[in-house]
């Protein structure tokens, strides 16, 4: 199965890169883009056919390595 892990800065953490991208989009005339948060995206190929197992494994590696819980949170999709 494949797990997709989206890691983003927690809402309480200032994201200077996202802010700069938003400012650039505003300069390009995209005033309707109100805010941008930049993050990281991981695709994990997992040797399992069980969705529950895949999600648990992805969650474990996200906790252990992919995300830093001090500043980041993550979301997982499995298919």
């Amino acid at each position: 199965m494949r797990a997709r892990v989206f890691v983003t800065l927690k809402p309480s953490v200032f994201d200077p890169q996202g802010k700069t991208i938003a400012d650039a989009l505003h300069a390009l005339g995209y005033g309707k883009v109100e805010d941008v948060r930049q993050g990281k995206y991981f695709e994990l190929d997992l040797a399992t056919t069980e969705a529950v197992q895949a999600r648990a494994l992805a969650s474990e590696v996200a906790d252990k390595l992919l995300a830093n819980p001090v500043i980041e949170s993550y979301r997982i999709e499995v298919d």
Binding site: L9, V13, F14, P16, L65, V70
Partner: protein, 238 residues
Amino acid sequence: MATFGVIVFPGSNCDHDAYHAAKDVLGQEAEYIWHKDTDLKGADVVILPGGFAHGDYLRCGAMARFSPIMREVAAFAARGGPVLGICNGFQVLLEAGLLPGAMLRNRSLKFQCEHVHVRVEQTDTPFTLACARGQVLRIPIAHGEGNYFADPDVIARLEANRQVIFRYTNAAGELDAAANPNGSASAIAGLCNDARNVVGLMPHPERACESALGSADGLVIFESVVQSLTSGALVARA
């Protein structure tokens, strides 16, 4: 005579500076310790140097935490051994959980490379023993991710326990938003753990140990740890 153990990760680039400061400037023993080594070669003090360990892949310091030598560093720290993380070494200590918090990109989004002023906030650590409280050191920084972040309750605990060891100030030692080069919370430039034997800081004292290099203000950090080791003095909790 104290023996400095300088950890070398693939991508470390201030290991020679730290070795030079310990061995040539201070006349102490020094050993390089490769990150795959599993013993600290009898080091009395461990330095995690600046650089870009493991290319800073994923996050600064995230991979270095899994290097075999880090198990020994953690055990040494748990025994009360003095550990100093400088710049990338500080980031490694944060990722390894030996110090609390995390680093964000500099608020400016720029790699900041300049001399800054830091004020010594506490002197009851092995690395600030020979400093005066409130002493202002002029030391260079060179980092892109030195914007210290921790949850407000963690910052409050650091302040209450006097774990903030260095703060960015102006030359007069006053807090000044313009003197905070990266946006760090509470102008934190360096901090220590609960037991006060593990210290991390973003500025580079090892690059400021000889006046020919523009400043010798960093030398006192290394002199402090030599003094704490050779006098056998336990660091008193004030």
